[in-house]
């Protein structure tokens, strides 16, 4: 139940980010100056922390989506769905720790 809520909330969040992400990337077609100017406004600690949140959402949604697929198609999926969820959280932590360290040292270390 809560994994479903989290899957839904992260899905909606990623989707709205994607609109903004495609529109700002489209600025490369306007001019290098226009693109660099907008990207420069993202290079601050607040956006840096939001980026960590976004990646956290994507990683959760991705691994949890894989879990949904396994529950639907793998004959033993439904029986092990709780274990699979533990796996999702474990993989999420495993990727988030190095990512957060590296990303925040880029953001705060200049």
């Amino acid at each position: 139940m809560w994994s479903w809520v989290a899957h839904r909330v992260t899905g909606i969040g990623i989707f709205f980010f994607l609109f903004a992400h495609i529109l700002d990337t489209a600025l490369v077609r306007v001019s290098p100056e226009a693109y660099n100017e907008v990207i420069a406004t993202y290079k601050n600690p607040v956006v840096g922390l939001l980026e960590v949140g976004l990646v956290a959402a994507v990683i959760f949604h991705g691994f949890n989506g894989l879990r949904i697929v396994l529950v639907d198609f793998w004959s033993k999926g439904p029986r092990y769905q709780k274990h699979l969820f533990v796996g999702v959280i474990a993989l999420w932590v495993l990727l988030m720790v190095p990512f957060t360290i590296r990303h925040l040292s880029h953001v705060f270390g200049g």
Binding site: R8, G11, I12, I14, F15, L18, F19, I22, L23, T25, A26, V28, R29, S31, P32, E33, Y35, N36, I39, K43, G48, E51, V55, V58, I59, G62, F63, G65, L66, I68, V69, D72, F73, F99, R102, H103, H106, V107, G110
Partner: protein
């Protein structure tokens, strides 16, 4: 417009004529698995390697899209993520917007925004010039200056 789900074991001929929802369900799973590879690689290459987020500027994007592999990669990601997300939001609208009129207009808005975004993104990837002739040289990827 209301989506009604027939009771289990309803005879096939009473269930309505199409399998659209089944295909949408399959698409969510197939595109999800592909997106897992596409998006995780995208994040790794852009945020973890080299100088990470600090390397991001016009030259970085131009350098990537000079390679057809990344063009196809980003094109696939654009289409799959937009369609996957749009179909996901369609489900969510069906779940929460109970008034017929509201549901209709939310979907019209959603599909319009999706169409514009996919067309725009596709055009950008295909018409992109990594070395625009009137731009300052120091903003461009290094290969532009090679005569």
């Amino acid at each position: 417009m209301t989506t009604t789900i027939p009771a289990p074991r309803t005879p096939r001929r009473l269930r309505g004529r199409t399998n659209t929802e089944l295909y949408a369900w399959m698409f969510m799973r197939a595109s999800g698995v592909l997106l897992l590879i596409l998006v995780f690689t995208h994040l790794f290459v852009n945020l973890m390697t080299g100088d990470g987020i600090n390397a991001l500027d016009f030259g970085f994007v131009a350098g990537k899209w000079a390679d057809p592999v990344w063009q196809v990669w980003d094109l696939l990601m654009l289409w799959l993520a937009m369609l996957h997300g749009t179909n996901g939001l369609r489900t969510i609208i069906n779940d929460y917007a109970e008034r017929d009129q509201l549901r209709l207009w939310l979907k019209v808005g959603l599909y319009t925004a999706t169409t514009i975004t996919i067309v725009l993104g596709t055009l950008v990837i295909f018409t992109f010039d990594p070395c625009p002739p009137d731009a300052a040289a120091d903003l461009l990827p290094s290969f532009c200056s090679v005569p």
